[in-house]
Amino acid sequence: MTQARNERLSTASTLEVPALALSSEQQRELYQLLETVRHLDLSAIAWQRQGIIPGYAPERGQEAAQVGSAYAMNRELDFIFPTYRELGVARAWGVDMVAYMSTHKASWHGGLYDPVASRFAPIQAVVGGSVLHAVGWAHGQTLNGPLNTSTDEPQPSGKYGVAISYFGDGASSQGDVHEAMNFASVFKAPVIFFVQNNGWAISVPTDRQVAGGSVAARAAGYGMPTIQVDGNDIEAVYAATSAARTHAASGQGPVLIEAMTYRRGPHSTSDDPGRYRSLDEERSEAGQDPVDRYAEKLQAAGVVDQTFLANALSNAQDEEEQVRAGVIALGSRPGQEMFDFVYAEPTAELKAQAASWREESEHV
């Protein structure tokens, strides 16, 4: 049986993580983000039950890992390569939430946001599929050469923009992930491999998924520094990602972060976790809820009070209302779009197919 998550921090981190002092304002911002993501995520499950969206991949328990890591990245310079479970990353990064949810509404694979403008790659359904893309993009930054440091501006961001690739412990079994780690180390690419080890790949627990002790231990075998971090601790994740970013941005190559989290609830809205674990097991293995934990910490430190927390919840509720309305208002895409984006230079043949589709269909 799987042990409690925090006991499974088996690999020593090999990259030193300096302590980071967050301002009270930043802490409050982080908490607001956590609360917003928690609320949107739970709501999305409700929307599925209400028939507003056909399906959703919940992330309860991973909010701290997602928000904390995204918060550490640079929005002007960096690029995010997500999977299908990155609502929290997207929200913390500023991706439009209705456009993000549109993928779960089945409007458009990859979502309706502009991935180039938002520096957040299209939602990826293939497990491990985009990990190599992050390496390629990162190598592109190296080829571009160091960022312009000739100005008098201080350059806290380092020499290179950094790619961050999110994936799960299950995805870490994919050959592409191993090719990506090897390539990244060989090319010293400025990339962060951010593993959310949530304990499960659908019904298969990590110990039936990951040989070699941990994902971080494998990454160490590729010669890159690694950090294992308590994924329920948002400030620890933020500090770890900041350290990794500094390392990669300065041209020292890739870092792998393994955030130990726990996916509470089902893998997706069509999953039945009762078939592979009990609610008691979930309670005993999940560790402390990351949102509650941060609320307690900030309260104890006098950074937030009950009023702040109540406000944070009500802000989250307001935002959820707006996103919900936006998602409901999303009409079907015009059929023509099916043909519009296949090629940058569409073929005459495809244009002909589009023309006959138009002729033969009623909904023009």
């Binding site: 502009d114 993009w137 592109g140 090719e179 390539f183 779009e337 296949v342």
Partner: protein
């Protein structure tokens, strides 16, 4: 003014790559052994020396890695020209080719085009070990979002590769291995029309439709048939996605008989697709059903049996015979 040189396809491809690297600083070449060695077929010979190891570089030996990395490089504004050492070794990268390269422009609603030119030494004819001799064209042509092209001679090779390397969409560039060392005239200044198919030889009795290495073989068949007074028209398809139905149909409308020739297995091969298009376009004028002369539904056999597998002159002549002697029921 035209500038004509007589060179091999290998040299023509090498020149096209050099020209592409020179023309666009965003063009990159990556793959296994493409650097100092110049590729196992020497297609990238001398390019690293001339353009540096940032622009022409060896990768670790992992095809999915090469293609997946190319996706990221394309996202970062580059035009990667990855090489897969042999066609059969593209299979480990099929996930990246189909689910990523072929779809990224679509998935991203046109904001992330994939200007990737994947070069693959393709098809048989070298009596090479297993997986060094494959025909992926039907599989690739079936994938939405990809374009597929195969040159038949040095002139086509030079200009089609330069064209592919300037296109914003992913192009699967299938190089016919047995033609690498055949020399022919190349007019580097005059590409001619590179769109669609091309008539490689005119004739009026039957159309042979082929691509890649089979074009040269069909031209040889045409020579032999001419001795018997049969005028064979040879259509070099060139683009396998999209297929130039109009040029094929125009040829068949004239000859009223068609034989499609390819090395790939018969079942679900491009021959069936082309035959179907000809039937749609030329049903009334056809004097015989469209014939196919292809490989068989077996794995590409080892060298000893290769000549039995790849359509040879005799089998193609039999195909021509079948369409020429076809009798309608009751006629």
């Amino acid at each position: 003014m035209s500038e004509i040189t007589t060179i091999s396809m290998q040299k023509a491809l090498n020149l096209a790559l050099a020209d592409s690297l020179r023309a666009d600083p965003k063009v990159l070449i990556l793959g296994e052994d493409v650097g100092t060695l110049g590729g196992v077929f020497r297609i990238t010979d001398g390019l690293q020396a001339e353009f540096g190891s940032q622009r022409v570089f060896d990768t670790p030996l992992a095809e999915s890695g090469i293609l997946g990395m190319s996706v990221g490089l394309a996202l970062a504004g580059y035009h990667p020209i990855p090489e897969v050492q042999f066609d059969g070794f593209a299979y480990p990268a099929v996930n990246q080719i189909i689910s990523q390269i072929g779809r990224m422009n679509y998935r991203s609603r046109g904001t992330m085009p994939m200007p990737i030119t994947l070069r693959m030494p393709s098809f048989g004819g070298l009596r090479a070990p297993e997986m060094h001799t494959e025909s992926l064209e039907a599989m690739l042509a079936h994938v939405p979002g990809l374009k597929v092209v195969s040159p038949a001679d040095p002139q086509q090779a030079y200009h089609l590769l330069k064209l592919a390397a300037s296109m914003p969409d992913p192009v699967m560039f299938l190089e016919p291995k047995p033609r690498y060392w055949q020399k022919a005239e190349v007019d580097v200044t005059n590409p001619g029309n590179l769109q669609g198919a091309r008539i490689a030889r005119e004739g009026k009795h039957v159309s042979l439709i082929a691509y890649g290495a089979m074009v040269a073989r069909c031209l040889q068949v045409a020579e032999l048939a001419a001795e018997d007074g049969i005028e064979v028209e040879v259509v070099d398809l060139r683009w396998l996605k999209p297929i130039d139905t109009a040029t094929v149909a125009a040829s068949v409308a004239k000859t009223r008989r068609a034989v499609v020739v390819h090395e790939a297995p018969l079942t679900a091969g491009l021959g069936g697709e082309i035959a179907s298009r000809i039937t749609e376009a030329c049903f009334d004028t056809l004097k015989a059903p469209v014939e196919r002369v292809t490989g068989f539904d077996v794995p590409y056999p080892s060298g000893d049996l290769e000549d039995e597998y790849v359509p040879n002159v005799d089998r193609i002549l039999f195909g021509i015979q079948r369409v020429l002697t076809y009798k309608r029921l009751g006629a």
